[in-house]
Symmetry: C2
Subunit: 217 residues, 2 copies
């Protein structure tokens, strides 16, 4: 009953919103296999110290980036005998949504931010993992408050709309978008405003994290 067991790793797709739209944080591998190739931050599960694979990815991110994402979701397992030169392996892949400023301020590692629509050659099957993560985000964003996690904790309605537009790759009609956001009941106005006296914009925050089966568009 003893079968050869897979090598088990965890990898994180850190997605953030920057100038070019949706970008992913990559780093250059500093060890074999595939040393110096661009890759997702990740590592091997340590069964002696991690309490779960989610604990593993949080440890890896803490060690490699110095911060913990507010939103971390398990994506799926990628597995097989050919994806890693070390042999039969599996990666439990996670997606994290991170406000750009937060990631840039906290990172210890040298990250390179790359548009998800123009990926360079990547180690292992990491390009497939990123594609699956972006598909998941885009599909969930049509009916959920997921995009809020790409914003700072307080944001204007214009920032929120631009975030949805960047993810969904479409323009949304302003009054329609605001009416839907209001109908969701997920937004809470704060006392703060930003901008000049002439065109002040109120700051909002997310009340709860809830999914909605309604279209945003």
């Amino acid at each position: 009953m003893n079968f050869p067991q897979p090598l088990v790793t965890v990898d994180a797709v850190l997605l953030t919103l920057r100038e070019s739209g949706l970008e992913v944080a990559l780093h250059q591998r500093d060890r074999e296999p595939l040393q110096s190739a661009m890759a997702l931050p990740g590592g091997v599960v340590h069964a002696n110290e991690d309490t779960s694979t989610e604990d593993s990815i949080r440890r890896v991110l803490r060690d490699k980036t110095g911060f913990e994402p507010r939103y971390l979701e398990q994506l799926q397992v990628f597995s097989g005998r050919d994806r890693d030169p070390r042999g039969w392996s599996m990666s439990v892949a996670y997606v994290a949504l991170v406000p750009a400023a937060e990631l840039e301020a906290a990172t210890r590692a040298e990250f390179r931010f790359v548009s998800v629509d123009a990926l360079p050659p990547l180690a292992f099957d990491h390009a497939d993992i990123i594609t699956a993560a972006v598909d998941r985000l885009r599909s969930k964003s049509t009916y959920s408050t997921l995009p809020f996690f790409l914003l700072p904790e307080r944001f204007t309605l214009t920032q929120l709309q631009h975030t949805y537009e960047a993810i969904l790759q479409t323009r949304l009609e302003k009054s329609n978008f605001r009416r839907k956001m209001e109908a969701w009941g997920a937004l809470e106005a704060t006392d703060e405003v930003v901008g000049g006296a002439q065109r002040p914009a109120r700051l909002y925050r997310l009340k709860d994290f809830t999914f909605f089966d309604r279209s945003v568009g």
Copy 2:
């Protein structure tokens, strides 16, 4: 760089629609650990023969049930040091949707069908896995054609509506439901009808497998 590696297993939540509503296929474990406990069908990944974890679960289902489900989706990984007495382990869990007649006709194993709302005590964390699978199905069913896979390949619109109602645990208004199904464009009428000459009902089939971000209710 050698860390103790997890034991990697795969498990399947076989969901089907029967008298009581949504039911899951369980079997009695025939070996240690937890011999004779009720559990999901599953097994250990064989890195020497399986090409991926999806290949592993297909092998396990073939061996234990004698059939391959039309719809099989990766659910998520459950992991940790306490979930299996053999030590740190992880299960890559899958959901399969199976028409009841198909599963009953093909199964080699002795399955017991149990309502997902009245689970008996189960081995490992299999109750948590089933809960996650049912949540996933219910949530996706509000905006997708997923419930079609619980039906035979040809079905009446009344059967389709009852399937959605059983999953969503709500009554749907008939003409509204039919209008939405038509708007989705996923149904294809066949030449066949069932029922008597007085109230014949046309049989339909699913054109494609597509997700929609629209509410069914």
